[in-house]
Each structure stands twice: as C-alpha cells, then as structure tokens.
C-alpha cells in the first residue's frame, strides 16, 4: 500500500547497539522525508550515527524502533531500488575495474548493454581503467568506479557515505560538481553523509544535522544546492557559516 508520494519516508527511527549488559543508543526518534529528485546531506560530529542511519536506509542494519519506507514499501533488507557507495568505496580488490563495475548488475540480473556500459564509464571518465585492479587506482578513480557500479543498478535512491573523505580539496570540488551533473542528468535522488559543511551546503537541498544525543538537532532547507554559481556566492558562505554555528552549538 502506498504511504506517500515521497520517495523515502523515515519515521521514529531508533538504533541501539547491545553487547552483553552494555547498550548504546546512537540514533533516537529520527524522522524525515525525501522527495523524488531531491537530495539530503547528513552532517554531525563523529560517532553521532550518520553511517548507521545510512546503513539502515540501505536495509543492511535493522532499526531497533521505527520504520523506513521507499516508494511506499517498508525496507526490511537490501533493496534493488537502493544503491550504496561506502566510505572506502567497497570495491573488491581481487576484481579488475571491469569486473567490479558490472558486479552489481550481474548479481541482480540487470541486462546492461555494451553501449550503456561505455556511456557510463565515459560519463565518469573511467573508460580506460578496465584492466586495472582497485589498488592501482587513485582515490578519485576508485570513487568513480564505485559510483559507476551503483549507477548501473539504475536505483531510485543513491546513498553516499563520505564519498570525498579520502580525496584532496581541488579534486573533491571537481568531483562534487561532476557527480551532481551526472545525478541531475539521470534524475537521481540521493543522501550524502559528510563531515564537511561546504560539501553539505553544496550537495544537499535539505541538510540533516545529527547530534551526539542520538537525535536530529535541526533540518536546514538549502534550495540552491547543486548550482555551480551558488558555490561562489555570498549566500553559500553564509549558509556554510550557519551550518557551522549549528554544529558548534551541539552538545
């Protein structure tokens, strides 16, 4: 039964990790929506549960309380409609770039034409890397291969866990713009987890700020995200400062 016309609906999400008699609640009472073709950046201090939230949305960790719906269906495990790019990209070191990029499509029996494969590689600038192993690639190349693998799954929702963390500032800004252009062309909705205020302001049309008390501190609307001109505007720096102030006020 369809619950909402939103792509993603998260309600009352809670995650507690238990080990023997110890338990720690990292997320509590998290609720938010994500519309089609929209983007959400999740920021917060280390250990606030950003990655945990992403893994729950990906169906890889079950919530302790609450539920997540994607296109009206409750997420109870990994979904073919969701693609995840992990912080260290999750490429299999024993497979070449060519085998890594098509692995997901093969596992899900998605027929990929040679043309589609070539176009995706070209779009991401990785068409000449097929025979190389992940250890032979730079951080930026690995990230683009992981992204190519996710794109070929034709997901409704893309989840990115600190995708630019291991990349230098100049390459990062170039990649951010490049990826946003790809997402826009392919009309992807995405959630990006990041440590960087600027990255959050540039990439997320909504910004979710988590705190260390396991809850959402605030949700900022950021309608200009993704616009290259916005990046060099005074508004961009004002919004980055606003986000910095919110994070500095966190307990």
């Amino acid at each position: 039964m369809a619950i909402s016309r939103d792509l993603l609906r998260v309600r009352g999400l809670e995650k507690t990790f238990s080990s023997g008699s110890d338990s720690k609640t990292v997320l509590k009472d998290i609720s938010f929506d994500l519309a089609y073709n929209d983007s959400l950046a999740v920021v917060g201090p280390s250990g606030c549960g950003k990655t945990t939230l992403l893994l729950m949305v990906a169906g890889l960790l079950p919530p302790t309380e609450g539920a997540i719906w994607l296109e009206g269906d409750e997420i109870k495990g990994p979904s073919k409609k969701i693609a995840l790019v992990l912080q260290h990209y999750g490429l299999l070191p024993w497979k070449t770039v060519g085998a890594n990029i098509t692995l997901g499509a093969k596992l899900q029996n998605i027929g990929i034409s040679g043309k589609e494969l070539q176009e995706t590689k070209k779009e991401l600038g990785i068409e000449a890397l097929d025979h190389l192993y992940p250890a032979q690639l730079s951080g930026g190349q690995r990230q683009r291969v992981a992204l190519g693998r996710a794109i070929l799954l034709r997901p409704s929702l893309l989840l990115l866990d600190e995708p630019f963390a291991a990349i230098d500032t100049i390459t990062r800004e170039r990649l951010q713009s490049g990826l946003l252009a790809v997402f826009k062309r392919r009309r992807f909705s995405f959630i990006v987890v990041t440590h960087s205020f600027e990255e959050a302001v540039f990439m997320g049309r909504k910004i979710l700020v988590l705190d260390n008390r396991a809850g959402i501190r605030t949700v900022l609307n950021n309608p200009d995200a993704g616009d290259i001109a916005f990046r060099s505007s005074p508004e961009f720096f004002e919004r980055s400062l606003e986000l910095r102030r919110v994070l500095e006020d966190l307990p």
Binding site: L60, L84, L86, Q87, P93, W94, L132
Partner: protein, 248 residues
C-alpha cells in the same frame, strides 16, 4: 616460469652439487657417493619400468592426500572463518586436535585401513588437514565489514558471498599453506612408505639403504625431492595466475 627464476634454480642446483662433490671427497664415496656416480645410476634407473612404478605410487598417495585434505579442510575452514558462531563451537576441537602428533596414530591407522594405499593416504590427509583448515579459517576471518556490506547492498546472496568474497580473499593464504604442507606431506609420505610396503619412493630409498646401495638411495632421495619441488612450484604458479591482484 621467469628466466631469472630458472637461472636462480640452476645456480642453486649447481651450488648443491658442488658442495655435495666436496663433501663426498672429504667423507669418501662409500658413505657419500659423488654426484656423477648418482647421476649415472639415475640414468640407468629412469629407463626401468620398476622405478616409475615407485614414482607413480608415491605421486598417487601424495596427490590423493593433498586433494582429500584440500576438499575437506578448505570449505570447512572458510565456513568457520565466515561464521563466528560455528567457529566458537568448533574452536576447542581444532585447538585440541591440531597439536596431537597424528603420526603416532600410524599403527591404529594401519590396523583400520590395512597396509595398502588407503592407510598412507589417510595419514597424509590427517596430518595436513589441520594446517589447511586453520589457514583457511584465519584467512576468511580477515574479511572487511565494508566488503560484506558492499556485496549485500549489490544484491549478493550467501553463495555469492562465498564465491566473490570469501574464496578470493582466502586464496593467497591457502596457497601459502599448500606450499608449507607440501614439505610436511613429502616427509610423511617417506615415513609411511618405509614400513609395510614394497611400492613407493620411501620403500625404494630404505630398500637401497638396506642393501648399502647408496647411489640408488640418492636417486630415490632426488626423485622424492623432485615431487616436492614440482608440487611447490605448481602452487606458486597457480597463485601467480589466480591472485594477480596481490602483485598487479
């Protein structure tokens, strides 16, 4: 095999034979025959069908032992290494079973399986089984959580997990273990073939020793060593072919 590798092998063999020749001069050729006598004896032996029957018997036993141990220990090790719950249950059994010197069970094995090939294969299998099991289990334990999440999110099933993650991640460790157990299995083969049999290089060596026919004894030693070297190099070659990602 690369040219440098072949050259290194050739140089080592020459060095061994030079040392051997010097030693045979010092000790006298009755105790240690010089390599040229052994070589000429070797040429006479290799044209005999009986010699190849011994080589065949030893080759069959060692290969059968390795294959059976590989086919049982590796899947079990990979399963335990990737299933911590089962690993916890079986760990005490492995820790108790591994240090027991299985060779002391030889009389019991001979009583149960007789003096034929079966008892020898069972002993080789039992001795190398635990070494392969522990290596495979420990290699499978090293799997990164991110790789597990990655495969699950790509739609991988449990079978895909073994095929695309557990098996390839464990393969370099398995090959290292296979190279190590090659030496062990050749030693065990010699020991089990020196008792209650008239086929195999172990018997061939002991028989020649009993007749004080030292050149023939050395031919047997070289033949047994060659089986070990061939197995070692085969595993090395397979690792280079199947684990290219380790040294791209």
């Amino acid at each position: 095999m690369k040219r440098k590798h072949l050259l290194a092998y050739g140089a080592t063999i020459l060095l061994i034979y030079a040392l051997w020749y010097i030693l045979s001069l010092l000790l006298g050729s009755t105790i240690l025959p010089d390599p040229f006598i052994v070589f000429s004896q070797g040429f006479m032996e290799i044209v005999e069908r009986a010699f190849w029957a011994h080589v065949g018997a030893s080759g069959f036993r060692i290969l059968a032992g390795l294959i059976i141990a590989f086919c049982t220990a590796i899947p079990l090790g990979l399963f335990l290494g990737s299933n911590p719950r089962f690993d916890r249950v079986f760990s005490p059994l492995i820790y108790l079973g591994y240090p027991i010197p299985k060779i002391v069970l030889m009389p019991i094995i001979f009583v149960i399986f007789g003096l034929g090939d079966m008892s020898k294969i069972v002993l080789i299998t039992m001795i190398i089984f635990f070494q392969l099991l522990i290596t495979a289990r420990d290699a499978a334990r090293t799997i990164d959580t991110e790789v597990i999440y990655s495969l699950k999110s790509l739609g991988g099933t449990r079978l895909d997990f073994y095929r695309h993650v557990v098996w390839p991640v464990s393969l370099p460790g398995i090959f290292t273990s296979l190279r190590i157990v090659t030496g062990t299995s050749v030693a065990v083969l010699f020991f089990v073939e020196s008792i209650g049999t008239n086929k195999g290089l172990g018997f061939y060596i002991i028989d020649a020793w009993g007749r004080a026919d030292y050149p023939t004894m050395f031919v047997g030693i070289i033949a047994l060593s060659t089986i070990g070297i061939i197995l070692y190099e085969t595993f090395d070659l397979l690792e280079r072919k199947l684990c290219k990602w380790k040294n791209p």
